[in-house]
C-alpha cells in the first residue's frame, strides 16, 4: 500500500449539504424580492444592494485578515447579511448609509462576538436598528423615483387612511426595497421551505400569533389584520430574519415559543408603539431572549419521559 489509510472515527460519510449551500439558498430566495425592488425603485435600489453586500463582505475580509483569523468570506454568510441589510433600506437613502450599516453589522455585531455562529443578534437587523436611531429622518424617508408620496401603508393605516391591499400584495407601495412585494417574498419563502433550509415553525407561530393579537387588540376587523400582515416587512421578517439560524432557538419547542414572542412583541409595537413598524425591534429583542428560551425548552431525551 503506497499511502497510509485514513483512520478517523465513525461516521465515515457525510451529507451533501454544507454551510455554503445553505447560505447560497438563502441568497437565491431573496432574488425575487431584490429583483422586484430594483424594478419598483430603479437603479438606485440595485446600487444600495450592491453597496451593502460589498460593505459586509469587505468588512468581514478586512477584519479577519487584520486579526489573522481564517477568512470565512466564502461561506456566504456575509453575503446574506449584506442582502438583508440592503433590502431593509428605503430607496432614497444616501449610499454611505448602507455602507456604514454593513461595517457595523459585520464588525460590531458579528466579528467582535467571534464571527459566524457567535453573534447573539441578527447582524443586519441590529445594523438597521442602529441606523434607524442614528439617522431617523433618512431611514424613514420613503419617497422614490419621481418623488412619489412617502407614506407607507402602515403609516397611512395609523393615520386612519384607506389602504389598497392588492397594491400591497404586488408591491406598488412605499417601503424599504425588500419589504414591498408580498408575492415576491412568499416566492422566496416557498423556496426556502421546499429546500428545507427553514422550517415553518417560527414563521407560522409568528404570523398566527401576530394576526390573533392584532385582531383582538386592534379593530376586530379581518381587513385590518390582513393589511398588517402584508405591511411593514412582516413577511420579510418572519421568513428571512426571524428564521436566522444563529439568532433563533435551536430547540423545536423553543422555535414555537420564539415565534409566539415575536408575534406579541410586533403587535405591541405596532398597535401601541410610536412607530408604524415594529418587526425589526421585535426580532432583536427576541434574539436577546433566545438563550433563556432554549434553556426552558430542552427536549426530553428518548425513553426519559416521566422520569
Amino acid at each position: 500500500m503506497s499511502k497510509l489509510l485514513n483512520v478517523s472515527s465513525s461516521p465515515h460519510v457525510r451529507d451533501q449539504v454544507t454551510t455554503q449551500n445553505i447560505m447560497l439558498d438563502v441568497a437565491i430566495a431573496m432574488i425575487p424580492a431584490s429583483a422586484y425592488g430594483v424594478y419598483q425603485f430603479g437603479v438606485k435600489a440595485a446600487l444600495i444592494l450592491l453597496i451593502s453586500v460589498l460593505s459586509c463582505v469587505l468588512s468581514e475580509y478586512v477584519f479577519e485578515f487584520l486579526m489573522g483569523k481564517p477568512i470565512t468570506v466564502s461561506d456566504g454568510s456575509a453575503l446574506v447579511t449584506g442582502m438583508i441589510l440592503g433590502l431593509n433600506m428605503p430607496p432614497a437613502i444616501p449610499l454611505w448609509i448602507p455602507f456604514l450599516g454593513g461595517v457595523f453589522a459585520i464588525i460590531v455585531v458579528k466579528q467582535l462576538y467571534g464571527g459566524v455562529g457567535q453573534n447573539f443578534m441578527n447582524p443586519a437587523l441590529a445594523a438597521r436598528c442602529f441606523l434607524l436611531i442614528s439617522f431617523a429622518g433618512k431611514m424613514t424617508d420613503f419617497t422614490y423615483s419621481d418623488a412619489v408620496s412617502g407614506a407607507t401603508p402602515l403609516a397611512a393605516l395609523k393615520a386612519g387612511e384607506a389602504v389598497d391591499i392588492t397594491s400591497m400584495f404586488i408591491g406598488k407601495i412605499s417601503g424599504t426595497i425588500g419589504e414591498v412585494s408580498v408575492i415576491a417574498l412568499l416566492l422566496g419563502a416557498a423556496y426556502l421551505l421546499f429546500r428545507k433550509v427553514i422550517s415553518i415553525k417560527i414563521p407560522a407561530a409568528y404570523l398566527i400569533t401576530f394576526a390573533a393579537f392584532v385582531f383582538i387588540f386592534g379593530q376586530h376587523d379581518l381587513m385590518f389584520v390582513l393589511t398588517h400582515l402584508c405591511g411593514g416587512g412582516l413577511i420579510f421578517g418572519a421568513f428571512f430574519m426571524a428564521t436566522d439560524y444563529v439568532t433563533s432557538p435551536i430547540t423545536p419547542k423553543g422555535q414555537i415559543l420564539f415565534g409566539v414572542l415575536l408575534g406579541v412583541l410586533t403587535g405591541l409595537f405596532r398597535l401601541f408603539g410610536g412607530s408604524a413598524e415594529g418587526v425589526s425591534y421585535a426580532i432583536i429583542i427576541g434574539n436577546i431572549l433566545v438563550p433563556l428560551i432554549e434553556k426552558i425548552s430542552i427536549p426530553v431525551a428518548f425513553g426519559k419521559e416521566g422520569k
Binding site: V7, N21, S77
Partner: protein, 440 residues
C-alpha cells in the same frame, strides 16, 4: 398508514446495489487462523489449549471468563501455534489463539448432530446456545445465552428479529433472509419455545421488498410470528429505535430491552441459535459483506471466524482503486482499520472500502446553529449543546444535557453542514464519563 418507524434519523446513500444481488459464497481459508479471546462484550474467554495442541473443527478452545462472557470455538482443524496478543478491528491488542489450519476440516465428535428442538427443555436449549459460543452478531456481541436468560421470562412478550439492516452498504442480513428464511423461522421458534408469552416479529426495512415478501410467505402458517415492514431510515435497526417502531415502547440508555418486554436478535444470530440447537453446529462462521467503491468485486461471504481480512480482500479481487478508508462494518458506525491483517471475529459484519472520506476532506467550520442535528437525533437530545459541553470538557454539563443518552449512531455528524465531528467528540466524552464513574 405509514410504515413503522421512529422520530429523527437520516437517509444516507445506501450503496446496497453493489452487493445485494450477490449470493453468499463460502470462503475456505488457508494458513494461519487467529481467534481473539475477546469477541464479545464482557469478560474475555480463558484459553483451554496450549501451543502444540491439535484441535478440531467445533472444538472449544476458550471457555467463558465470567457470567457475561462466551466460549470461543475453533473453526478449523490444525495445530495451535501460539497464544499471543493480536490486533483486532478497533486497533487494540487482544490475547488470541493462533491456529495453523491443516485444511482438512476434521470435526469433533457430535459435530452436526441433529436434534429436534421440541424435545429439549428450556435449560437444555440455553446450555446448547452457551456451549456453541453464540453472541449477538449485529455488532455489539452480547452473549446470547445471557440474553436468553432474563430475570423474569414471563414478562418478555415480543421477540424482535432485526432484519432492518439500516447501515449503508451492508447486505449480509438481506442475503440470509433470501437464502435461509427457514432457518430464521426455525431459530425464532426455538427462542419462542423459551418464552411462553411472547410473539415473534421480524422487522425489515422497506428497501428490501424481496425479503419482506419472502419472509411474509414463510410466516403464513406460523401463528406466533409476523413480519413488520419498517420505514427505510437510518438507524432503524438500532435496538432502541427498532423496539419503538415495532411496539411503541421507549427505552433509554440505562434500560434493557427486557424492561420493555422485548428481546432483539439480529438475523444471523437467530440462524446461529438454530444451527447450535437443531443442527449441532457451534458459532464458527459468519456472513460478511465485502463492499465499497474501491473493491473490484463486491461480494457476500460465509466466512469461518479467525480468517484474515486479507484473504477476504484477495477473494474479492482486491482494490480497483486505492481506498481512502477501509472500515470493519458500515460507514455509519464501523471501525476504520489501520491494516488488513486482522481476523474475522463473531462481531465482524462487513469490510467497506471507500475511496473518498468526506470526514477528512472537509475541515470543520463554525456551528451556524442550523438545528439539523436536533432534527435527526433519534435520542431526542440536542447534539449542538452537548457538543459545546464536550468542547469545553464540561463533564457535568455533558451529563446534564443527556450526553450519556447518545447511541453514537452518527446522524448528527453526518448531517452537520459545518462538518463538525459531533459523534466523534461524544464518543470520547462518553468514554471519559464512564471511566470517571468506574473510578468513583
Amino acid at each position: 398508514m405509514g410504515l413503522a418507524t421512529f422520530k429523527g434519523g437520516i437517509h444516507p446513500y445506501e450503496g446496497k446495489e453493489l452487493s445485494e444481488n450477490k449470493p453468499v459464497q463460502v470462503l475456505q481459508p488457508k494458513g494461519e487462523m487467529v481467534f481473539p479471546l475477546s469477541q464479545h462484550i464482557g469478560a474475555p474467554a480463558k484459553p483451554l489449549v496450549a501451543a502444540g495442541d491439535q484441535v478440531l473443527v467445533g472444538q472449544k478452545i476458550g471457555e467463558p471468563g465470567g457470567f457475561i462472557s462466551a466460549c470461543v470455538i475453533s473453526s478449523v482443524s490444525g495445530t495451535v501455534k501460539t497464544i499471543e496478543p493480536r490486533m483486532v478491528a478497533n486497533g487494540s491488542m487482544v490475547p488470541s489463539i493462533i491456529i495453523e489450519n491443516d485444511g482438512k476440516y476434521q470435526t469433533v465428535d457430535g459435530f452436526g448432530k441433529e436434534r429436534d428442538p421440541k424435545t429439549l427443555s428450556k435449560e437444555e436449549i440455553r446450555n446448547l446456545v452457551k456451549e456453541a459460543g453464540v453472541v449477538g452478531l449485529g455488532g455489539a456481541g452480547f452473549p446470547t445465552h445471557v440474553k436468553l436468560t432474563p430475570k423474569d421470562e414471563s414478562k418478555i412478550d415480543t421477540i424482535i428479529v432485526n432484519g432492518a439492516e439500516c447501515e449503508p452498504y451492508l447486505t449480509s442480513d438481506y442475503r440470509m433472509m433470501l437464502e435461509e428464511p427457514e432457518s430464521i423461522i426455525k431459530g425464532l421458534n426455538i427462542i419462542l419455545q423459551l418464552f411462553d408469552n411472547a410473539k415473534g416479529v421480524i422487522g425489515i426495512e422497506s428497501n428490501k421488498p424481496e425479503a419482506i415478501k419472502l419472509m411474509t410467505e414463510f410466516v403464513k402458517d406460523e401463528p406466533r410470528i409476523t413480519v413488520c415492514p419498517l420505514q427505510t431510515k437510518y438507524p432503524q435497526g438500532g435496538e432502541r429505535t427498532l423496539i419503538y417502531a415495532v411496539t411503541g415502547r421507549k427505552i433509554n440508555s440505562t434500560m434493557l430491552p427486557a424492561d420493555a418486554g422485548c428481546m432483539v436478535d439480529n438475523v444471523d444470530t437467530v440462524i446461529s441459535i438454530y444451527n447450535a440447537v437443531a443442527k449441532g453446529i457451534p458459532l464458527i462462521r459468519r456472513i460478511i459483506t465485502v463492499t465499497g467503491d474501491a473493491i473490484a468485486n463486491p461480494q457476500n461471504y460465509n466466512v469461518r471466524t479467525g480468517t484474515s481480512y486479507t484473504e477476504l480482500l484477495e477473494a474479492s479481487g482486491g482494490f480497483k482503486t486505492e481506498p481512502e478508508k477501509v472500515i470493519s462494518g458500515g460507514p455509519m458506525m464501523g471501525q476504520a482499520l489501520f491494516n488488513f491483517n486482522i481476523p474475522v471475529t463473531k462481531t465482524s459484519s462487513a469490510l467497506t472500502c471507500l475511496t473518498i472520506d468526506e470526514v477528512a476532506c472537509n475541515a470543520p467550520s463554525a456551528c451556524i446553529r442550523c438545528g439539523r442535528c436536533v432534527k435527526v437525533c433519534p435520542g431526542n437530545i440536542v447534539p449542538q449543546m452537548i457538543m459545546d459541553a464536550a468542547e469545553r470538557s464540561d463533564m457535568e454539563r455533558f451529563v446534564k444535557l443527556n450526553g450519556m443518552e447518545c447511541c453514537e449512531c452518527g446522524c448528527c455528524a453526518y448531517i452537520c453542514p459545518a462538518r463538525r465531528p459531533l459523534t466523534q467528540a461524544f464518543k470520547e466524552m462518553r468514554r471519559e464519563v464512564a471511566a470517571s464513574r468506574k473510578k468513583a
